[in-house]
């Protein structure tokens, strides 16, 4: 069954002065897919996300998210996507519920609808017990989970998660990965996430894109990357790390 294409990028390029942050990126992502965006720091992962969200304009190339151009129709795009920035911030002197309600109101969700959703989401991200505490007192892991809840409150079709596990301890990382997996499984949500941690990407992604120095050097399911990158036959063992290092050296 052919799934609907939800994100389409063609020859997407972003220049900062002379430097190419993103260089001729072409990629399509289907509805319900978990796409792991892999690459070293400064490879252009965040810049790509910003262009998908309409937070920065591409120098050239086209982007379509749910059929809309984020540079020209930013509001239409922002209605259907959720974005978790790297190191997300909150209003520290408000509690989790107030932070979530603020985001809900900005999305034009009436308070009586959002009240139900907030309670359910706080359960889901395991923050129900701390909901009355000021966010300023939250640990890194709790903040990341609250960030996920903020993405989910508007029930988006696509979630963009920028380094969702950065700075989390192993337990927090596992909880976060479980959460992301359940989103795609239970809600059929399309998830586009970036990371530079290989094993995490490997664990939860349907497809993986490897980006190095602004160029997408490989994209596809893990097995396919292994075959192409390492020249392995089906059934042979490999790790994403091997594939990644191979591409990294080539670039």
């Amino acid at each position: 069954m052919e799934r609907e294409i939800i994100i389409r990028m063609e020859e997407l390029t972003k220049l900062y002065g002379q430097q190419k942050a993103v260089d001729g990126l072409s990629l399509t992502i289907a509805e319900g897919e978990v796409f792991g965006f892999l690459g070293p720091n400064g490879a252009g992962k965040t810049t790509t996300m910003l262009m998908l969200l309409g937070l920065t304009e591409p120098t050239s190339g086209t982007v379509r998210v749910c059929g809309f151009d984020p540079a020209r129709d930013p509001l239409k795009v922002k209605e259907v996507i959720g974005y978790l920035p790297e190191n997300v911030g909150f209003y520290e002197d408000m509690d989790a519920r107030q932070n979530l309600r603020y985001i809900a109101r900005l999305n034009d969700i009436p308070d009586r609808v959002s009240a139900v959703r907030i309670d359910r989401l706080l359960e889901e991200v395991d923050l129900a017990k701390e909901a009355e505490k000021k966010v300023g007192s939250y640990s890194k892991g709790m903040r990341q989970r609250l960030g996920i809840a903020e993405v989910l409150i508007k029930e988006p079709r696509v979630a963009f998660l920028d380094e969702p596990t950065i700075g989390l301890d192993p337990d927090g990382t596992n909880k976060m990965l479980e959460l992301i997996k359940s989103l795609s499984r239970e809600r059929r949500m399309t998830i586009f996430f970036s990371s530079h941690l290989l094993d995490q990407v490997q664990q939860i992604s349907d497809r993986i894109g490897i980006m190095i120095k602004g160029k997408l050097v490989a994209a596809g399911p893990l097995a396919e990357l292994a075959q192409r990158g390492l020249g392995l036959e089906e059934g042979e063992s490999y790790t994403l790390e091997e594939i990644y290092m191979k591409y990294f050296k080539e670039a």
Partner: protein
């Protein structure tokens, strides 16, 4: 629209619970009330057994007591309210990493600036209105005169001008909060511009005037006079760059219909004395408004200019969380 209202509500909550706003508002209200009550008590002494002059109530706001009048005080320190309300409007969100989250919600970016500006203006209006009302109440009990209809009108117009004046500084501070990433820089920049425009424009103006049209010390009276007038005119034009001058001119016309405080640059000569005797009646309200209108328009224009720059910078700015 929903976005503006939501942000507006949150900003209002923030302002009301923000310690530094409460402190500056308390300080301004306190000093304002002290000045007005000093003036009021002095007037009480002076007016004992004398027929009340016209517009005696407005003198509460315009007469200089020991230091300066209430109007001068607001002209001088009112901008601080605007600056304190606005200097970290945008870059606080930036440094708290909430800005990238905010701009990825389905709201227009200008809604963020507009809502913050509207919330600030509301706070300014609350402070100024309560200040004028407190002083009026104090004045009624001190000098025992109830303001007439025209005086109430003039006070209302004064209130509007003051709110617009302080709002200009709010707009300027918001502009700095967009341009500068660090809240400390934007606070210092706002303060620097405030001090520069309020105190040094006059100084710069006289320098400029002396450079362009120096006063000639010649025996020829006509030439000396014309050079003097030209010098003064240049100074005057330069001083119009200072919002404080705009505000001072506008309010003195509104609150001082008898034009007792001389604004002319030349010391009172025979002609002016003649005009005072000819027009000793107060300027009618309508005429005062006509005189004030250009100052008001200038104030609105420079506020809009700030906004224009704000939009131009903020709309296209890339917002990263790191």
């Amino acid at each position: 629209m929903q976005g503006i209202l939501t942000i507006y509500r949150k900003e209002m909550e923030d302002h009301f619970s923000s310690m530094r706003f409460l402190l500056i508002a308390a300080l301004i209200v306190m000093v304002g009330v002290i000045i007005a009550s000093m003036v009021g008590m002095a007037m009480q002494e002076e007016l004992r057994g004398v027929a009340k002059p016209t517009f005696v109530f407005l003198m509460l706001f315009t007469s200089t007591g020991k230091l300066f009048s209430f109007v001068q005080f607001i002209g001088l320190l009112g901008p601080l309210i605007g600056i304190i309300l606005g200097f970290d409007a945008i870059n606080r969100e930036r440094s708290g990493r909430t800005l990238s989250k905010l701009v990825s919600q389905p709201i227009y970016r200008d809604a963020i600036i507009n809502a913050k500006f509207m919330a600030g203006v509301t706070m300014i209006a609350i402070v100024m209105a309560s200040l004028v009302l407190i002083i009026s109440g104090l004045g009624i009990s001190l000098i025992g005169v109830v303001p007439g209809i025209e005086e109430v009108w003039r006070l209302a117009i004064y209130l509007v001008i003051s709110i617009m004046y302080i709002s200009f500084w709010l707009g300027a501070a918001i502009l700095f909060s967009v341009v500068f990433r660090s809240t400390a820089t934007s606070a210092l920049a706002s303060l620097a511009v405030w001090i520069g425009l309020s105190f040094f424009v006059g100084l710069g103006g006289s320098f400029l005037a002396d450079a362009i049209a120096p006063i000639k010390q010649t025996a020829d009276m006509a030439e000396a006079t014309s050079s003097f007038v030209k010098n003064a005119e240049i100074q005057r034009v330069a001083s119009l760059f200072s919002p404080m001058t705009l505000y001072g001119d506008a309010t003195s016309t509104i609150l001082d219909p008898l034009r007792k405080t001389p604004r002319a640059f030349v010391l009172m000569g025979p002609l002016e004395r003649f005009s005072l005797t000819r027009f000793q009646n107060p300027l009618p309200l309508g005429q005062s408004v006509v005189i004030v209108a250009p100052f008001l328009i200038s104030l609105v224009a420079i506020t809009l200019l700030c906004f224009g720059i704000c939009y131009a910078v903020f709309m296209r700015q890339e917002i990263r969380s790191t």
